[in-house]
């Protein structure tokens, strides 16, 4: 299937207020494209969790959206501290977030499980000290 659109965003790691703007932009784009609202929401939730993670754990990074006729691929790339044990990080409730982050309503250890739950494919590649790349594929119904 031919590629339709490629969108790119810089996610500011020092700005908790603006966290989510990249996701909102992709969400509106998909909505305007006429993608099924259920699929739009699945993309939005998974990407938003990823975007929040980049802000609270990795000092920001880049978010890319490749939107095809039948699917959307979100790629989140950061140069943060990386994830030592991805399997452990995927467990619901496991979190390394600070109390400050928890006070903001995140850090409940649901970020990665949520991404896995809502995206059709969730690929996490990470190297400690170098960074993390998350790929989220959502097929449109």
């Amino acid at each position: 299937m031919a590629e339709c659109v490629h969108l790119e965003y810089r996610v500011d790691g020092n700005n908790f207020v603006s966290a989510g703007t990249a996701t909102e932009s992709v969400k509106s784009f998909l909505k305007n494209m006429g993608v099924d609202p259920k699929d739009v929401r699945r993309v939005a939730i998974a990407m938003y969790e990823g975007e929040i993670n980049m802000v609270i754990h990795a000092n920001g990074g880049y978010a890319y959206a490749d939107i095809y006729v039948d699917k959307c691929i979100i790629t989140l790339v950061d140069t943060g501290k990386g994830i030592a044990d991805i399997e452990l990080a995927m467990q619901p409730g496991y979190s390394t977030a600070s109390d400050e982050v928890r006070a903001l309503g995140f850090g409940a250890g649901m970020g990665l499980p949520n991404m896995k739950k809502y995206a059709d494919e969730c690929i996490i590649e990470s190297e400690v000290g170098k960074g993390t790349k998350v790929t989220l594929v959502t097929n449109f119904s």
């Binding site: 908790f16 966290a19 929401r41 939005a44 309503g105």
Partner: protein
């Protein structure tokens, strides 16, 4: 029920987007953890929360919610109100606590929409 009725039941104040107060809402979810809202909410139109920061508005946007009710008298900042206005989300503040606010709305007919 209408959003305005929910505000009335909770003796709450509508803080913005009053023009949308007649929108009908059927279900709600109550949580202070936004990740839990993202994990468990389905089609709930109302978010009842004691958390008060801009990511509450963003979470509601992601979930296509129409109204956020802040309990325990929490007041959103101007910045949050602006975010909500741009996205047509009605913000309400009530002095009631979480349990009592949820109970009152449940009693008046709002459904959980989940387990």
């Amino acid at each position: 029920m209408k959003i305005s009725q929910a505000a009335q039941i909770l003796e709450g104040t509508i803080l913005c987007c009053e023009e949308f107060k007649d929108r009908e809402v059927i279900s709600a979810c109550g949580s202070d953890m936004m990740s839990d809202v993202l994990a468990y909410a389905k089609d709930q139109a109302v978010l009842i929360t004691g958390l008060c920061n801009p990511q509450v508005i963003r979470t509601a946007v992601m979930m296509d919610m129409l109204c956020i009710i802040f309990v325990r008298g929490k007041m959103p900042t101007e910045e949050m109100i602006e975010l909500a206005k741009e996205r047509e989300i009605v913000l309400i503040s009530t002095p009631r606590r979480m349990f009592s606010a949820c109970g009152k709305l449940y009693q008046a007919g709002l459904v959980p929409g989940g387990y």
